[in-house]
Structures are given as C-alpha cells and as structure tokens.
Amino acid sequence: MKILYFAWVREKIGKSQEELEIPNSVSTVADLISWLETKGPEYRAAFENKETNNSAIKQSHVDHRTPLNNASEIAFFPPVTGG
C-alpha cells in the first residue's frame, strides 16, 4: 500500500510517502494508524492527536472507521488550510 504524508504529518514522519506491506489484521484507517505507531516514535509523534489527522482513500476524505478494502493509496494530513 502506498501511504502519503502531507504538511506537518510529513515533517514529523520525515518522508512524503512510502510503500508498505500491511498485515491482514489491519482493516480500518484507525487500525492502520495504530500499526504505523508501532513502527517508531516519529509515527507516534505524527499521530499523537488523532482528531487533528485527516485521511483520504482514493483521494476522497474518509474518517478513521473507514475500512481500507485493499485500497492502493491512503494519505494522512492535517486539517486543510488553503484559500
């Protein structure tokens, strides 16, 4: 699965994207966050305040209960501040 990070989520994790094999036990966005947090303190820092983390699957906003359903791409980012 391709995982993208933007803005301060990207800065805290230290990369803008990565390709990861996700275990079968990971079924929702929330599961994926919990699994990523096991990978190191940089991930725990990025997801410290989960309510401030937005996610998108197939480039559409989703909430943390959304199933991954073998999506090929997911993105994590702070609340948007354009315009």
């Binding site: 933007f6 803005a7 998108a56 559409s60 993105a75 948007v80 354009g82 315009g83």
Partner: protein, 156 residues
C-alpha cells in the same frame, strides 16, 4: 469550467475574459453578473509579522476535490462559467493566493456561488499553508473553526 493549480500569478481580467469568450462561443451573451473572489497573503498572522508563506497540496486529490465543489455549485445555481485557480509554492505578503470566478445571468446566483465555492475550498481542498515569521521558525497554519462553521450555511 476552469480549474488550475499553478505557481505563477493570475490576471483577473484575463481570466474573466476567457470565461466570457467561452460562453460567447455558444452564441449567447446571457452573462449579466460576474463575481470574483481573490484571496491574498497578509503580512500578519494574528500579532506575528510574516515575511513569506509556502503552500503545499495533494496533487490529484486537489483537482478532484475542486471539480466536485465546482460541480456542486453548478447544480445549486444557474452558472454560465466557473473558474478556480489556486497558487502553490512560495508567496509574499500582498501576493494573490486563490481566485474564484462565477458567471451567471443574475447577481444573486453569482454572489452566492462564489461564496459557496470559497467555503468549500477552505474546508475540503487539500492545501496547507506554512507561514514564515520575520523572526523564528516557520509554522503550519491552524484550521479555523469559523471556516467549519461557515460551511453549515449551505446545508440543505
């Protein structure tokens, strides 16, 4: 409908004329009202003087979201043209950030649609601003509660 993400500046008159010409090609001069909104970089973030700002976005998702927002506006109001242009990269105080244009036969539709487009762009389009203060480290801009509240005006 024009949707563009670009680093370069835009010219409002030129963008309006492009939309008007597009409509004229349909053999009609039925545009009576043109509303534009331009967002520009301010030199203060609250009480902190700002020297510059940088804008990051999610390529692909941005265009998809802006198209969906423009389509929704075209469903709600009888628009005869819509433009959304958003700049990315490094910007300075006074610089243009975003342009929204709506064309319609009557003014209320054009005003409401432009207002709607900006509210949805602010809350749904994946752009992030980072402000560089005159002194100290750059900060990611926080989302505003007022922008979220503003969205509720459009609930049907």
């Amino acid at each position: 409908m024009t949707i563009r993400i670009q680093t370069e500046d835009f010219d409002i008159t030129k963008e309006i004329n492009l939309l008007k010409e597009e409509r004229s090609k349909c053999g009609k001069e039925d545009v009576g009202a043109i509303v534009t909104f331009t967002g520009t970089v301010r030199d203060m973030a609250g009480k902190t003087p700002i020297s510059s700002m940088s804008l990051e976005h999610y390529p692909g998702m941005t265009e998809k979201q802006l198209e969906a927002i423009a389509e929704e506006a075209n469903k709600r109001w009888p628009l005869l043209g819509t433009t959304i242009i958003h700049r990315i990269g490094e910007l300075n105080p006074g610089d243009n950030i975003v342009l929204v244009i709506t064309l319609s036969s009557h003014r209320h539709a054009a005003f409401e649609a432009a207002d709607f487009l900006m509210d949805f762009l602010k809350s749904k389009a994946p752009f992030w601003k980072k402000e560089q203060p005159l002194e100290g480290e750059a900060n990611w801009v926080d989302a505003r509660d007022s922008d979220k509240k503003s969205l509720t005006r459009w609930e049907k």
